[in-house]
Each structure stands twice: as structure tokens, then as C-alpha cells.
């Protein structure tokens, strides 16, 4: 067992190091556009993997990631915004805030904290109830966040959107946070917390009889997902440098659900693969959509694909398991998987 854990550690560190080398090469060699694209894809990976913990492992149906992204993004963007133009762009900001100009990391963390707080509030109200309440409550949260930001235009520039956000994100930042997200998700899944989550997903009553605090575990999964979504939002806004209240909306929520389902609800590797495939597909189809003037085509195709998967292979790529060729990365004995 000892040797196994050591092996797992080494394999993991090896993978990360390999990835770091790849990042260095990519940054040096590829064009700006491609590097940005890779950043976006990795951010989607981060979003999907964190949603796997909430929706996939624990069986919740949260559509809230875009709301948490928006919160994290706006908070971080306001904090890092160049101080000279801040009071001009956002006139109602209190002076102590308007003169500040933060670095990326603290801004990201505060943004994510704000996202976690809203998750805590909503989750507290809703997570004791049946699944569909969370689904609609999180959709409602997307709308609440959009409306509030729209109306607080003295602080956020409302519908005009915030442009000129400092381009602080680079591939290293994205890579580091994505690795962290994957690591956290992986460790949770293979620890007793992950097993508790799976138990809740499969049979809540039985889980409760085993002494699992269902409400607290759900809340934890929900808030944790919100944290990474907040970070993702912060990273995204500092990559594309613009944001409007509707930037991250219901369409994104749906696409994330698709990634989770196609990857296999509860499979981290599956989530990663699905996120990469689908986000690349979306980006590839965008120029086509514009030339043919059929806006919404990629969404229709994705939705169609999802319905087909639900009919033909409802467990997605990997079900709840990780692919068999990754035994060395498991630090603990195999979790019993259910597809």
C-alpha cells in the first residue's frame, strides 16, 4: 500500500511536470490566438471538473456555475482595474476602493470568496429540498446576478459592460489553477468524502442511515464548485478583458451540463476529455455560424448530441469510473463505481 501511494504521487507529479514543460513550449511557439484558445479550453476543463464534484459525484443539479463566474469575474475585475480610470468608469465606487489596484491572485481569491458566499446563501435555502428546486433556484440566481449587476451600473457599468480590464491571465496561471482544480476533485473523489457524495447520489436514505450528514455534504459540494467557478470567471475576464452582465448565462450552464454528462457523471477524466472536445467544437463552429448566418447552430447540435447520448449511452464516456489505464494515480484502493 505504501509503495502504491508513493507510485501514485510520483506519477501525478510527473504528469504535472510534463504539462508544465508543454506549457513552456506552447507559450514560446504558438501564436497568441492559439494560446488564448488553449487558455479558454483549460478554463472550461476547470469549470467542468468542479461541476463534476457538485453535479456528477453528489448528484445535485446545479446550473449555477455561470452566476458564480459572473460574481467572481466582476469582483476580481473591479479590484484589479487600473486606478487612474476606475473612478471614471465606475463613478459610484467608494474612494477607498477606487484608488486600489490589486494583483491578480488576491483579486481572484476575493472574487471566489464572494461566489462562495452567494452559494452558501442559496444552498442553505434550497439544498434540503428535492433536486428540481436547486435547478430552478440556480437558474434564478443567474438572472438575479445579471439583473443586480445591470442595475448597479454606478459600480459595474451595468449593461455597457466593463472593458479595458487588465490582461493579467496567462497560460501559466490557467494551468496552475486547472491543475489545482483537477487535483482537488481527484483527491475528494478517492477519499471518504467522495464516497459519501456518491452514496448520497445513489441512495440518500441509505446514506443518511450510514451517518452521512447529507445536507452538509451537499452544501460543501455546492460551495466548493462555486469557488472554482468564481476563480474561472476571474481568470476568464482577465483573459478576454471585457465582460457584460450577460456574458456567462444559461447557454453556458447548459454546455457545462453537457460536458459533465458526456464525460460521465462523476468521472474526472471523462469530464476533462469532454470539456476539451466540446469547447474546441464550439470554437470551431463559431466562424461557420457567422458565415452561414445560422446563429445558434452549434447549440442545437450540442443539444441534439446530448439527447442522443442520453438515449444511447446514458452513462457517458466513463460512467462514474476513471479509465482503467490510470491505476498508478490512485492513491487508495479502487472506489466501487456505478454507471
Amino acid at each position: 500500500m505504501r509503495a502504491n501511494v508513493r507510485q501514485g504521487w510520483l506519477a501525478g507529479v510527473g504528469l504535472v511536470a510534463l504539462g508544465a514543460v508543454a506549457v513552456a513550449i506552447v507559450q514560446a511557439v504558438l501564436s497568441d490566438y492559439l494560446v488564448t484558445l488553449i487558455c479558454i479550453v483549460l478554463i472550461y476543463v476547470m469549470l467542468t471538473v468542479s461541476l463534476q464534484v457538485t453535479n456528477g459525484l453528489t448528484g445535485l443539479f446545479s446550473l449555477g456555475h455561470p452566476a458564480f463566474m459572473t460574481i467572481g469575474a466582476y469582483v476580481a475585475a473591479v479590484l484589479t482595474y487600473p486606478a487612474q480610470r476606475k473612478s471614471f468608469m465606475m463613478p459610484e465606487l467608494p474612494p477607498w476602493l477606487a484608488t486600489q489596484q490589486w494583483d491578480l491572485l488576491p483579486a481572484l481569491l476575493v472574487g471566489a470568496a464572494a461566489a462562495m458566499l452567494s452559494a452558501l446563501i442559496v444552498g442553505f435555502c434550497v439544498l434540503r429540498l428535492k433536486g428540481h428546486y436547486l435547478a430552478v433556484a440556480t437558474l434564478g440566481l443567474i438572472i438575479i446576478v445579471r439583473v443586480v449587476i445591470n442595475n448597479l451600473d454606478g459600480y459595474t457599468r451595468g449593461g455597457l459592460g466593463l472593458s479595458g480590464v487588465a490582461r493579467l491571465t496567462d497560460l501559466w496561471w490557467v494551468y496552475a489553477w486547472t491543475v489545482l482544480a483537477v487535483y482537488v476533485a481527484w483527491r475528494i473523489k478517492h477519499a471518504s468524502l467522495g464516497r459519501a457524495m456518491l452514496a448520497i447520489r445513489e441512495n440518500e436514505m441509505a446514506a443518511r442511515c450510514m451517518g452521512i450528514d447529507v445536507f452538509r455534504t451537499r452544501l460543501l459540494a455546492f460551495v466548493l464548485g462555486a469557488f472554482f467557478a468564481g476563480i474561472a470567471g476571474g481568470l476568464m475576464v482577465h483573459l478576454v478583458t471585457v465582460i457584460t452582465p450577460g456574458s456567462y448565462g444559461i447557454a453556458l450552464a447548459f454546455n457545462l451540463v453537457v460536458m459533465v454528462v458526456i464525460g460521465g457523471t462523476g468521472s474526472i477524466t471523462g469530464g476533462i476529455l469532454a470539456a476539451v472536445a466540446i469547447s474546441l467544437l464550439g470554437e470551431a463552429l463559431k466562424p461557420f455560424e457567422e458565415t452561414v448566418e445560422l446563429y445558434g447552430l452549434s447549440q442545437v447540435l450540442i443539444a441534439l448530441g446530448l439527447i442522443l447520448i442520453l438515449r444511447l449511452r446514458p452513462q457517458g464516456l466513463f460512467g462514474s469510473a476513471e479509465p482503467v489505464f490510470l491505476p498508478h494515480l490512485r492513491a487508495t484502493p479502487q472506489v466501487s463505481s456505478s454507471s
Binding site: 448528484g59 428535492k130 428540481h132 433556484a137 445591470n150 446563429y295 445558434g296 442520453l310
Partner: protein, 296 residues
Amino acid sequence: MSQYYLQQLINGLMLGSLYALVAIGFSMIYGIVRLINFAHGDVLMIGAFMTLALIAAGTPWLLVAPVVLLTGALAGITIERVVFRPIRGAPQVTGFIATLALSVMIENGGLMLLSPQPRNFLFPDLMRTRVPIGPATVALTDLVIIVTTLILVGVLMVIVRRSRLGIAMRATAENLAVARLMGIDVNRTIMAAFALGSALAAIAGLLWGGRFGQIDPLMGLAPGLKAFVACVIGGVGSIPGAMLGGYLLGLGEVLFVGLLPPEYAGYRDAFVFATLILVLLVLPNGLLGRSEEERA
């Protein structure tokens, strides 16, 4: 009662009527298959666009409403057959995902085929005549909306409470297996529930378009979600509850905008969904709902 408040009351009843129409259909579907139909709001959009198409084709107004009802019913039956029936008995999550995907498909299909540009839509001039009620004057449109809703809901209640189909629907909603043992064709009964509920949503689309003047492919999203809020307020799965919830929500929204200073008017949607979350915390079964077991 002062003119202003009376005006607001009528506005609230009008909006509430629209919400009630959508919420009742939503509740019927939820009651019988225990699944949220995320695409229900999109049926409203289909009704609105069908109205536009009929008007453009020169159809006399008297025919438009029945055709729209029929369109809604057909849409509902199609949705049931294509999406809901294949997943009957599957875990609840599959249901969410499937109806969410359906909604995305319908909305984006609309965007693709109809363009995101809002279209205009006018009721005949007659509707703009103002009718005096007490100290206020009310557009005929608003009265028509309220009265139409009450009539349609009345008819529906008669069907549900008294007719053979209604009793079959209530039995199927309560216990599908035993309903089959009674010799009820549950497939047809469920289809009927979808047809009736969706017909109401489609008519709501006609009324909505005529009242607010503009329609676009994404117009159904917000009313669909608000219908759910109405159901939660009134009690999920209960038709009178959906109606009550719809009217309370409509009145609440209008009062919110009417009573607070104008700078808060933009927050009305946030208010609606904040109410949802609050009601879920305090009164999860709604005002009239029977208490479901707390969890799935």
C-alpha cells in the same frame, strides 16, 4: 380606491393572468410526470409566433385563438412523445437534462430560423379602447386577458374535476401503476395532460404578444421560469395553487415596481427569483400544496 392603485391592481391581475396560464400548464405536467418541463415557456413562444404567422396570412381573428390552442396542444403532444415518454422511469436527473436540452434546441432553433430580431405584433385597434372601471380607465386588452384566463381556467377545472378524462389524469398523477390496473390508458392520459397544459401556454403567448407588442425566440425563457416560481408559491402539482401563485406573483411584481421608487424598477426580475429562494426556505410546499416527502 385611488385611481393609481386601481390601475396597478388591474395591471397586476393582467400579469398574474398570464403567469397563471403558464403556471397551470406547468403544474399539470409536473403533477402527472413529476418532471419540470424546461421547454414549457418555449411553447408560449411557439404560440406567439404562430399568432404572428396566422395574422400575416390574413386569418380572421376569430379563428386565430382556436388554431393557437391547437398548435399548443400539438406542441405539447410532440414534446411528450419525443422527449418525456422515452425517459419515463429514468432517474430524475435524466429528465432535467433532457428537457433542458429540448429547451435549448427549441430556442436556438428559433434563433436560427427566425433571427433574434424582435418582431412586432398588434392586436386590432379595438383592443386599445379604454374602458372606465371606477376612477380608472383600463385598456380592453387587459380586460380580455383577465376574462379569457378565467374562462379557460374554468373550463379546465370542469374537465379536471368532472370529466372521465380528468379523473383519469388525477389517478394517473397519483399512482401510475394502479391507474393502469383500472384500465386507464396512461399513455393517452399523459398526452392529454400535456396537450391541455401546452394549449394554455400557447394562448398565453398570443395574449403576451398582443399585450407587450414584441416577440422574439427567447421570450419564453423568463415566463417559463416565473411560472415555476408561481407554482412554488402556490404549491407544486396543484392547479388551484398554480393559479393562486400566478396571480400573487403578478400582483407582487407590479406592486414591487409600483410602490418602490423608480430606480428600483430594474430589479423586478431579481425580486421574483429572490422571492423563489425565500419561499423555498420558509414554505417549501407552497400555500396550497400537499406536502411531498422532502427529498427525492
